[in-house]
């Protein structure tokens, strides 16, 4: 079966692979492009940039999103910035350094060739966005400004206040709008993909539900691109938007696309702590805050007690009684260690009883040193909107008292397996952005998600998909009355009818919250064999409960948000199990995946390169059957494998 995983990594020296590969890709002439159709699922940075670029090339594109407008995709919420190896700061940055830091940050579980290409095109992204009118922050001399981010030793992050994702997405959305106006792209807002249609083993279309009318509709194409983001909402509480979901990717898995490294989920260290059981989602405080904020907890337990009882304020605790634990444990990187390291360190302090709020699940992020050094105005200019957001949510003024933060689920590095061309194991099916697995290994560095989404959409997919489409030029428009479409539509209708007919006792959210608890407890920041086995059983039981006792209000032939949620939860209940299964099989600690059995004496991750230096790609084998594991070995020809060290 191993022959199914052909990564198509080009031969030759690392720095020449992409250039050489591009020259060998087939291209489609303009006349033929007009005859070819492409479906794009999702309008975030990946989807919008891909659809716009493909439209510019002359293809006929149909783009789908579940929101009322493409501009609402969750990329919009990214705050801190986008990395690019421009070396504008003269701090000896380079394509190689960005590549190296990304591989290291990912704990040596990503592909060298893909990551190098990402670093290579990163500079073009900045140029493209500037040309589109993205108002990046500028220095007084008029040139682009940079900030630092976790896991990097240079300053290479471009930003637009704390709203970088918004500005980049508005750039891509504007490019998309231009193509919609030109007629090359047709937009389908409030449409949700519910199945992928294969004809002769090739991806040829989708079944979608019109979320306004409830109608089930068919769409055909010569290729399908999945850009629907990650599956972080499996945990119910996450920093993902409420409607973000893994369903489009999951339908592809169930139609034969392999799903890679599902257990690699990123837990972001700086989120606003949970306030209670009425909570619907968690809010991220940008990693950029760690540039100027220092993370600490009290050294003395009695201070912790007094803080919890609100007898003292954090500012009452003397400097020498504070434990700046990241600076203490990781002198070289200090507060700017990668996310997984910072999250685990926060958990370690809280587990040891030093959490600073009533629940004991919070640490301080303190700006007093920076305010003293730079003044409040400078801090306001850098992070004003984040400070305002924090104050609105918590009713505490972070200019006066430190923020309280705690880790939360934020991003999924795992996703649909793709080869170097971003093609999945299904011919004609591509996956880009967070929906694929390819670039971040076991842990994504801050400001690299935006980089990857736009790299895939603007500069990689438009080249690689042409190579496939060149084989499609003689194929007619996909006939959506084909029996394969009949069958897929029938299955979708049956699933919806089944959900509507259960009329049980539990709401969709009640079951989703239960799943979230299982996931956070056993497949969260620390995992072990017994817990993961238990999680698998618990999820299977919960899935039975869902299919026998859920209550979906409303009717199917209408706007119905309960039905939307139920369809997504049905998939989360399967995704969660695969995540646990993958986490159980990966008996090593690496990146965001921390197996308690595999740690060093001082609590750092212990990788097992001998046994686990591979991509775990899971193949669906049918309902009730165990998925089959395929391994793509990771070969490092250019980077010396080392233990990740942020201490010195």
């Amino acid at each position: 079966m191993a022959e199914k995983l052909i990564s198509k990594i080009p031969e030759g020296p690392l720095s020449e692979k992409w250039t050489k590969h591009k020259s060998q890709l087939r291209v489609v002439n303009p006349g033929n492009k007009r005859k070819l159709e492409i479906i794009v699922i999702g309008t975030g940075l990946g989807g919008a940039s891909a659809a716009a670029s493909l439209g510019e090339l002359g293809y006929n594109v149909k783009i789908f999103c579940i929101s009322d407008s493409p501009r609402r995709a969750h990329s919009i919420a990214a705050q801190g910035g986008i990395n690019a190896a421009k070396n504008y700061q003269n701090d000896n940055d380079s394509v190689y350094r960005l590549f190296y830091e990304t591989i290291k940050g990912g704990d040596y579980r990503s592909r060298e060739a893909n990551v190098y290409r990402l670093a290579e095109v990163s500079g073009n992204i900045i140029d493209q966005c500037v040309a589109q009118g993205v108002p990046f922050a500028r220095e007084y001399g008029g040139l682009l400004s940079n900030r630092s981010f976790g896991g990097a030793q240079v300053s290479r992050t471009f930003y637009a206040r704390g709203q970088t994702g918004q500005q980049l997405l508005l750039g891509a959305y504007a490019a998309l709008n231009r193509q919609i106006a030109a007629g090359t792209v047709k937009s389908y807002p409030r449409h949700e993909m519910l199945d992928l249609v294969l004809i002769n083993g090739e991806a040829k279309g989708i079944i979608a539900r019109n979320l306004v009318t409830g109608e089930i509709e068919r769409f055909g194409a010569h290729a399908v691109v999945i850009a629907s983001g990650g599956y972080g909402n499996t945990y119910f509480l996450s920093t993902n938007a409420m409607n973000s979901n893994g369903s489009a990717a999951w339908q592809c898995y169930k139609k034969g696309a392999f799903f890679a490294n599902p257990c690699f989920a990123q837990i972001h260290p700086t989120c606003i702590p949970v306030h209670g059981d009425q909570q619907s989602k968690l809010t991220l405080m940008s990693e950029s805050l760690r540039n100027d904020g220092r993370i600490w907890v009290p050294k003395k337990k009695e201070d912790v007690e007094k803080l919890r009882k609100k007898q003292i304020k954090p500012s009452d605790i003397a400097e020498e009684d504070r434990d700046y634990y990241l600076e203490r444990r990781y002198p070289a990187f200090g507060n700017l260690v990668p996310r997984d390291v910072a999250s685990r360190a926060a958990k370690e302090r809280c587990d040891a009883g030093f959490g600073v709020n009533e629940t004991g699940l919070a640490v301080f992020l303190d700006f007093s040193t920076a305010i003293k050094r730079l003044g409040e105005d400078k801090i306001r200019e850098r992070y004003g909107n984040l400070f305002q957001m924090y104050e609105k949510i918590t009713a505490t003024n972070p200019y006066k008292e430190p923020m309280m933060i705690y880790p939360a689920i934020h991003y999924t590095m795992g996703g649909i397996w793709v080869d170097y061309n971003l093609q999945t194991t299904i011919p004609g099916l591509y996956a880009i952005g967070e929906a694929n697995f390819s670039d971040h290994g076991g842990n994504r560095l801050g400001a690299s998600a935006l980089m990857q989404g736009l790299a895939d959409g603007y500069f990689i997919l438009p080249y690689t998909i042409g190579d496939y489409l060149a084989s499609q030029i003689l194929k007619p428009k996909t006939d959506t009355s084909a029996p394969e479409f009949d069958e897929a539509e029938k299955a979708v209708r049956a699933k919806i009818d089944k959900l509507m007919s259960i009329k049980g006792k539990h709401t969709v959210d009640e079951i989703h919250k239960k799943l979230g608890h299982i996931m956070w407890e056993y497949v969260g920041m620390a995992r072990n064999e017994a817990g993961l086995k238990k999680a698998i059983t618990l999820i299977q039981d919960l899935r039975k409960e869902f299919w026998s006792d859920v209550y979906v209000a409303g009717d199917k032939d209408n706007f119905n948000q309960e039905l939307e949620k139920a369809l997504r939860l049905a998939d989360f209940l399967e995704i969660g199990e695969l995540m646990a299964r993958d986490a159980l099989h990966r008996n090593e600690s690496c990146g965001g995946h921390f197996r308690e059995e595999m740690q060093t004496e001082d609590g750092e991750t212990k990788r097992d390169d001998e046994n686990f230096m591979y991509v775990a790609a899971w193949e669906y084998k049918g309902e009730g059957k165990e998925p089959e594991l395929h391994k793509e070995p990771l070969v490092y020809e250019n980077i010396k494998i080392a233990t990740r060290n942020y201490k010195d």
């Binding site: 501009r71 918004q166 209670g276 957001m389 006792k505 209408n558």
Partner: protein
């Protein structure tokens, strides 16, 4: 906190809507407004499960539909007219960032959808804002293709200009300005985009043409005219100011002169 909610219920665009009154109890002041609505909906769904209660005519209209997504005040999906104000009683927030501590125990809260001819109701509190997309499709972009662009640092842009452009670009397209305007004008929304791009050297090339095309589309889609009441600016959750409207007018007039 215990609250009384008067919520607009409307089955779809074709049927007439009405207010229904609900009670919610034990709401934490730390909860967000939308979390309070989540609790109401869980309650309404449970009421709907009980066949006896349904027979007695209790809460048969099911959970309340409302748009929401990021719940961080940036996606622009949430809307809601709360006690007569777009995004409710707090300043410079979207509904999702409004917290219950802004209300008092025992309050009655009236919740309506955006009301504007430009935004027809889809269901309950959900409206159709596709008109905003159409206005942007008419010209809210810089006509560059992917690739072949110059280095990002080739054209210096002053710090102040970049910041001013960013002020307009901060618009989240929620539609509060339209919902608040007595004329149902989309002027602030259009101006934010026109002005943000016109300030930048990259956007200047097409500035006049862009202003003309977007204003024409706004008029065509049935949005009203601007009569400078500045209500839009007061309710904008992202503090987009009417100075952008002044800049739009300048571009618009210069386009007219060129004709």
């Amino acid at each position: 906190m215990d609250l009384t909610l008067k919520v607009w219920r409307q089955k779809n665009a074709k049927t007439k809507g009405h207010f229904e009154t609900y009670e919610v109890k034990n709401i934490s002041p730390d909860s967000s407004f939308l979390e309070m609505l989540d609790i109401l909906n869980e309650q309404l769904i449970h009421d709907g499960m009980d066949p006896v209660a349904v027979e007695k005519g209790c809460q048969s209209s099911g959970p309340v539909s409302f748009d929401h997504d990021c719940r961080e005040g940036i996606c622009g999906a949430c809307s809601l007219y709360i006690n007569g104000r777009a995004h409710g009683p707090d300043d410079e927030v979207t509904t999702c960032q409004l917290h219950m501590r802004k209300f008092k125990d025992g309050d009655t809260i009236t919740i309506e959808p955006w009301r504007s001819s430009g935004f027809p109701v889809i269901k309950d509190l959900v409206v159709d804002r596709q008109a905003f997309d159409k206005i942007l499709q008419a010209g809210g972009f810089i006509s560059v293709n992917t690739g072949g662009v110059p280095d990002g640092n080739v054209i210096p842009i002053s710090h102040e200009t970049a910041e001013e452009s960013m002020d307009g670009a901060a618009c989240i397209g929620c539609g509060a300005c339209v919902a608040t305007c007595k004329n149902g004008s989309a002027m602030l929304f259009v101006a934010a985009r026109v002005s943000s791009l016109a300030l930048l050297p990259q956007g200047k090339v097409e500035a006049a043409k862009r202003a003309k095309a977007m204003v024409a589309k706004m008029d065509e889609l049935g949005f009203g005219a601007c009569t400078n009441t500045r209500a839009c600016e007061m309710e904008c959750p992202k503090h987009v100011t009417v100075s952008h409207i002044a800049r739009l007018n300048r571009e618009f007039i210069s386009a007219k002169f060129k004709e």
